[in-house]
């Protein structure tokens, strides 16, 4: 009952959305125009809401991206509120699982002196208790420079919305793996640099064959990411990571490319090499997307991390607040059997 009330509340208030690195093709090199978070994802800025109307969605009316589709007048620019409700049906290895993956809300507000405070809370997977995966305070003394402390994903590689992408999952940036961090960011017209001290976390959510589960792990270390904007619609970047956990450690480095082929087509690519105490691992991911009609993108991706994962699918944003994604593909876990896959994702972001 508590969950139902929370869901109804989430549906009635506010905009939040996942990261969209592919929007580099529109000249959106950084994430900070559309998202409160400088690394993307989470609650949208006012500009982000306008972008969901004009850039992302097939159709929209003026200010449809606003709270309650702008059907009810709300005070502007006091608090940005958003949230995500995602339901997924996933079939692989002869099993089909369908569940509510995420139902959360995030609020952010700007305080005097260049300070922004943001916090999220909600339900994730099979977790019955609400939790906050992201909360931070950010201080931005200049247009370029900012310092952020709190819980969020440290900057490394491409921040895909899909947490199952191999370069997210295999590098420890899967669903619920946000850590406490202190982040120094320098974002300029030529590119951006993020240096993040990872302060660890005690509680995280992981997904295995049985679904979501809670576990505890605390890695400490450092990540760094630097990007250089190429022309109007592309960028290249390098990432580094070194994290230690008791006597275990892992370190990784990688390169990525966000390539806007045209305003309607893009390529995302990332390669990483991760070294753990026991072995090295090569991880690679690439995705080609073509927006065939406004709001509807046909995509194909391939990821490799010892096993592989590939999909051919469509991603449709019919109107602001709604996303439907369907794909078919194949997956093979490392040293495991291969299986066909089918995925349907229904996403309401608000």
């Amino acid at each position: 009952m508590r969950a139902v009330i929370l869901l109804l509340f989430l549906l009635l208030v506010s905009s939040k959305a996942e990261a969209f690195p592919e929007n580099t093709r529109y000249g959106y090199s950084g994430c900070g125009s559309c998202h409160v978070s400088p690394t993307g994802g989470g609650v949208l800025t006012e500009y982000g809401k306008r972008s969901t109307e004009d850039l992302l969605s097939g159709q929209s009316y003026e200010k449809e991206g606003d709270v309650l589709h702008n059907l009810v007048a709300t005070p502007d620019n006091i608090v940005n509120v958003g949230g995500d409700i995602r339901w997924i049906s996933y079939q692989a290895y002869g099993l089909r699982r369908a569940f509510l993956m995420q139902a959360d809300i995030e609020a952010a507000t700007e305080l005097p002196g260049g300070i922004t405070v943001a916090a999220s809370g909600g339900l994730y997977g099979k977790m019955s208790d609400p939790m906050s995966r992201r909360h931070y305070i950010r201080y931005q003394p200049t247009t370029e420079l900012s310092l952020r402390i709190g819980r969020f994903f440290p900057a490394y590689g491409i921040h895909h919305a899909d947490h199952t992408v191999v370069t997210r999952r295999s590098l420890g940036f899967g669903e619920g793996r946000e850590t406490y961090n202190a982040e120094l960011a320098y974002i300029a017209s030529w590119g951006e640099i993020f240096i993040t001290e990872v302060l660890g976390t005690d509680v995280a959510i992981g997904m295995d064959n049985q679904g979501y589960s809670l576990y505890s792990k605390s890695e400490l270390g450092l990540t760094a990411r630097a990007a250089y904007y190429l022309g109007e619609s592309s960028q290249v970047g390098l990432s580094l990571l070194r994290l230690d956990y008791k006597k275990d450690y892992r370190q990784a480095f990688g390169a990525y490319l966000l390539w806007g082929l045209t305003e309607n087509a893009y390529v995302l690519a990332e390669v990483d090499r991760q070294q753990t105490l026991t072995e090295p691992q090569f991880i690679a991911y690439t995705k080609l997307g073509v927006e065939t009609i406004k709001g509807l993108t046909v995509f194909m991706d391939y990821g490799f991390d010892g096993g592989y994962q590939t999909n051919l699918g469509v991603q449709w944003y019919p109107r602001p607040h709604y996303e439907i994604q369907a794909s078919m593909g194949a997956i093979a876990r490392r040293l495991g059997e291969a299986s066909d896959t089918a995925t349907l994702l229904l996403h309401h972001y608000f």
């Binding site: 529109y26 000249g27 959106y28 090199s29 950084g30 994430c31 900070g32 125009s33 559309c34 400088p38 800025t45 006012e46 500009y47 809401k49 306008r50 972008s51 109307e53 004009d54 850039l55 003026e62 200010k63 620019n77 247009t143 974002i187 300029a188 017209s189 904007y229 109007e232 619609s233 305003e263």
Partner: protein, 181 residues
């Protein structure tokens, strides 16, 4: 007879020399006109596209001058509401529908990038500008490509701000055109 032939040759020289001195009007037949600005936060690139240039270049014996204009309502930036704000609130296109560039006489060095100067009237304010242009002589007419910068405040245009994104005051304007007699 011989004298007549000499007169005829001299006359033809005189006529051709006169033709070279006579100004030739080159009308802009095709063009692209864009602007680039940067918005913050996020350093987003704001590209104004679909601008068009009208006007006539006047080619004299060794210089080219001319007056060119653009309809400010032609520009689009990819976000319709942002365009509406840009045109209504900042550029005030109903009040100032056109931007006009009066090109100062320029001795063309075809095939090479060179500096040009002129007077730009934008938002009802006229200011001197400097830019770079590369012109290529065609069989008939001229092809030119170049860019120049403007500072919005110089033209009485408030620094545009839309949905929390503020545009930097420096805007780069790029053009490409073909002008023919």
């Amino acid at each position: 007879m011989r004298a007549l032939a000499i007169i005829a040759v001299l006359l033809s020289f005189a006529m051709s020399a006169g033709a070279a001195d006579k100004p030739v009007n080159l009308k802009v037949e095709s063009s692209t006109l864009t602007f680039k600005a940067v918005g913050n936060p996020g350093f987003i690139r704001i590209n104004g596209e679909k601008g068009k240039i009208g006007g006539v270049a006047v080619e004299n014996a060794d210089t080219v001058a001319g007056t060119f204009e653009a309809q400010m309502d032609d520009f689009v930036t990819g976000l319709s509401l942002r365009d509406k704000h840009m045109k209504e609130k900042y550029l005030e296109t109903k009040k100032y529908p056109k931007a006009v560039l009066a090109l100062a006489p320029l001795k063309p060095d075809y095939g090479k990038e060179q500096d040009f100067t002129g007077k730009l009237t934008l938002h009802g304010v006229t200011k001197d500008i400097k830019g770079k242009v590369t012109a290529v002589k065609l069989d008939k007419g001229v092809q030119a490509k170049g860019e120049f910068g403007v500072v919005l405040e110089d033209y009485g245009i408030a620094i545009p701000s839309y949905a929390g994104v503020t545009v930097a005051k420096d805007v780069t304007i790029s053009f490409e055109l073909v002008a023919k007699p």
